[in-house]
Symmetry: C2
Subunit: 218 residues, 2 copies
């Protein structure tokens, strides 16, 4: 397992070198299934000002998310971990490497890699990204940082999504933030709702600052 992670890190560094050479900032976006990664991307990428963005979609199967992004007229490449990669539950550096030739890197400032929906393994596999972001939906419950600490620790920004549902849930936001602070002290967090648009400007602005390197790569 450690050998596999070492090999992965070597390829991840090669990916990052390629991205750096082309001046592309790369964000690895992770979450549990159905937390809202694609919806948050649709919201933010539709109005990115002066930033040329593309998306790499990781899924076990299907093009549902890729088709949603393509509808925004943005370059999108699908990695299907179920075909050729044995149904993997995460992206790894080699899968991303295999997709690089299909990406118009010289036309991009920002590449978002939407990982497979999973709170465990994606945290262990770097893919050559500059930034790691996770989405945690309030519908998932306030105990998630305690149960998946590696994922919450791996990320520099946590998007707390679906906050429009808070009045209809028994979710205790203070308790969630307390747990989050316990496993990753000082981590940046934003309360957002892809449905109502709450917090989306702040999230889009974060991506813009990352793309222009105003935010230093982690």
């Amino acid at each position: 397992m450690e050998d596999a992670l070492d090999a992965n890190n070597t390829i991840a560094r090669a990916n990052r070198d390629d991205f750096d050479r082309q001046g592309v900032t790369v964000v690895n976006l992770m979450s549990a299934p159905g937390a809202g990664k694609t919806s948050l991307l649709e919201r933010a990428l539709a109005d990115l000002d002066g930033v040329r963005a593309g998306v790499l979609e990781g899924d076990v199967q299907g093009r549902v998310d890729a088709d949603r992004i393509a509808a925004l007229h943005l370059p999108v490449v699908q990695i299907d971990t179920g075909h050729g990669f044995g149904g993997e539950c995460h992206l790894d550096a080699n899968m991303v490497r295999s997709a690089i030739p299909s990406l118009p890197l010289d036309e991009l400032d920002l590449l978002v890699i939407e990982n497979v929906g999973n709170l465990v393994c994606p945290a262990e596999f770097r893919v050559g990204e500059d930034h790691r972001i996770m989405v945690s939906s309030v519908a998932e419950g306030e105990d998630k940082p305690l149960k998946y600490p590696l994922m919450f620790r791996a990320c520099e920004l946590v998007l707390v999504n679906k906050v429009d549902l808070l009045p209809h849930l028994d979710f205790d936001l203070d308790k969630f933030l307390y747990h989050l602070e316990a496993v990753h002290p000082g981590v940046e967090r934003m309360l957002v709702s892809a449905r109502t648009g709450e917090g989306i400007d702040e999230w889009r602005s974060w991506l813009q600052r990352a793309a222009t390197r105003e935010l230093a790569p982690a």
Copy 2:
């Protein structure tokens, strides 16, 4: 990978023989993180009539769920995949085998194995169960059967949870059920809410029929 699955199946069969010998019906309960497995178990197991139930809790880390079940005064054993098993994203037959000596099998009619929250790998690893059930929360979106077909196909019962949230979501229930039927024709499904209690009697009755072998093992 195929060798690993073969080895897993061999151990799973040994587990099932042990469970059969003691007359224990075993249910493998799976879902994405935060879909509500533990809450649905709390609801159903608290009032199981004439059935002696126990729970095996699989988590990457922590005893949050095990403590919730223990509060019901039911036997519960924790498998921590983060310690001794390398942070696995699923339970396998060997992890369950290692827990068997800690389980009071001769005092149980029903053992529920709550798997790690993950829609990918748990579907590939049998652990010696008679039945596989999954929980899918309506907050996760109606595309989930298309994106995780193996999981939806692996289960004989799908609990569609958090239906109390339907008025507050853009979730199209008919579309979800259509996708579900497309990937697993005829699969049994129940609309439930751990929060309001909707559908819980039906779910509890299913477990009771499984425990008394009125429902044949799959």
